[in-house]
Symmetry: C2
Subunit: 344 residues, 2 copies
Amino acid sequence: MNRPPTIRDVAKTAGVSVSVVSRVLNDSGPVAGEKREAVLQAIESMAYRPRAAARELSQGRALTIGLVLADLTNPFFARLADRIVWEARAHGAQVVLMTTQEDPHLEAESLDTLLDRSVGGVIATPTGENVGQWEKLQDVGVDIVFVDRAIDGLHGIDVVSIANARSADTATESLLALGHTRIGLISGPLSTSTGRSRIAGYQDALRRSGVSPETELIRTVPFRGDGGADAAAALLALPEPPTALVVANTAQVQNVVRRLAQLGTSIPQELSLIVFDDNPWTELVTPPLSAMRQPIDLLARHSVDTVLARMQGRLPTGPRVIEVEAELIIRSSCAALIRPAHSA
Amino acid sequence: MNRPPTIRDVAKTAGVSVSVVSRVLNDSGPVAGEKREAVLQAIESMAYRPRAAARELSQGRALTIGLVLADLTNPFFARLADRIVWEARAHGAQVVLMTTQEDPHLEAESLDTLLDRSVGGVIATPTGENVGQWEKLQDVGVDIVFVDRAIDGLHGIDVVSIANARSADTATESLLALGHTRIGLISGPLSTSTGRSRIAGYQDALRRSGVSPETELIRTVPFRGDGGADAAAALLALPEPPTALVVANTAQVQNVVRRLAQLGTSIPQELSLIVFDDNPWTELVTPPLSAMRQPIDLLARHSVDTVLARMQGRLPTGPRVIEVEAELIIRSSCAALIRPAHSA
DNA sequence: TTGTACGCGTTATCAT
DNA sequence: ATGATAACGCGTACAA
């Protein structure tokens, strides 16, 4: 139980004043060469480390990033968290992690807590609610970056995501190229830009091929719950079921795939399938699934870069919107349409 | 950019002194009923929230838990993190997350950082190195709980894990019951108690059935890298390959399964398989894999309970060791041995 | 370069 | 028994 040395201890043994020590620590002013040496020496020998709490208190802001994710059970978010922690560390920033479990109430609580902790910035996958809360955070100067999703009613917030419209377009197009015209789409809530963009991309691809999008083939489901699985089942139960399916709600991929497996739907014979987000297991299932691979490391890098840049005030005003490309990985879950669907 | 109210602001508008406010806040002393009301009122109306940094600074310790995990890419750790964050939140504690990527160097860095942040406690899956660092942490009064793994050379540290020996025993026994006698084992490093215990359990089960454990069938591999996959391949390349395999290195399950899939080893015909840790995808692959399910929520709950209890000094001295039971989930990756192996 | 006030919640001391 | 006051913890930043 040793009391760690303080900056004053260092100053004392180095024979200088605390300000000098602070100077060399943050390189925030001129220090005589020898004095600097003495200080470095003292720091080294005493194994001095500045206390984060003290720094935060005086600066009113911590070099800490609040990471507010939906849940770590989802491999996509888990890997995102892994990379974000990694990137943050590389920049000397810490990450305090919170999960919303897609529950706006929990999200609200988390935001309050982050306020208490006076974090400098937040990277989040918002639930879509709590607009007021987010604004309050902004109001006290916390920099916010939404990653993967953005929500309505909130302006001036940086967003890092994949090119959603283009990705959905690409996926849909590849299915069209195989002769499919009845292509189902399971996507995220319309309250998120992600959901809307993916639907738009899907529709664009369809129209380009002269296929008119049908409402019954588009299902938007919440990020959490059995919605995705149910939607898949419902689509298959349609009088004229789709011959191909795009699961563009990243959070629901697992549920949908599981349900499909339970239903014993033979893939790709009965149904061609493309899922959003490529996981280690997508190639382990039978058949290996074609997937839109999201460059998670890029999402992570850009989010961290953006928050940190904002925190250090080295970003122009006005929201920064970054889109990275997803890549279609072709495996064995898509087949050419043998028996074309009745085109009504 | 509003400056949040301080405790003195609250005291002022409530017409009392700061001590009174502090009293009601932490309920650390008697306060007259009406005054208390006034204070609560003021807090409410001003939306006052105490700054965490100030509290930490004065107390020298934060109600923050450092969570040091190997990596979140592994679904086991990801789900563990998810539950730990959840449990911590339920107790009003925050979690700062760091990953070691199984690299002792990164781990050392993380520990330093945690020291700076004066976290009250740490929950970790240690790499096995940095014994000195861990001791230093202990020395300054940070409470440490190892979860899932424990390491040698470090005493007086609380450990929460599954009953490793028994689990390996159970898995092995179920294979023996199917007639297998040449059962391979891929386990974690011998430097971890986890690795050793699982091997011991495996051997016990074997001996109980009159089968003498053969060294060539036991492979210990590091938590990271291709070791697990290579070990699996090596086992299958043996002159007399095993007819069943237990993958008891949780961190390597993914690698092993992937390699097995690449090798086209037909399961369970050529090889019966039991893996440690049950994931959403273990039942999605073909065939669905039998697995030892680890009660992740219990691991999380007990680790959080333990650190917090320690932090609040309400635990007797002497390390607390908690073991929870894992459960064998039978699916379709194990079959009775048709053509018994030559018993030499 | 140095001295010192400051930020803010906590707690010990003192007065009522 | 209550409430008020001041000192403390520690790094930062500005004035001297």
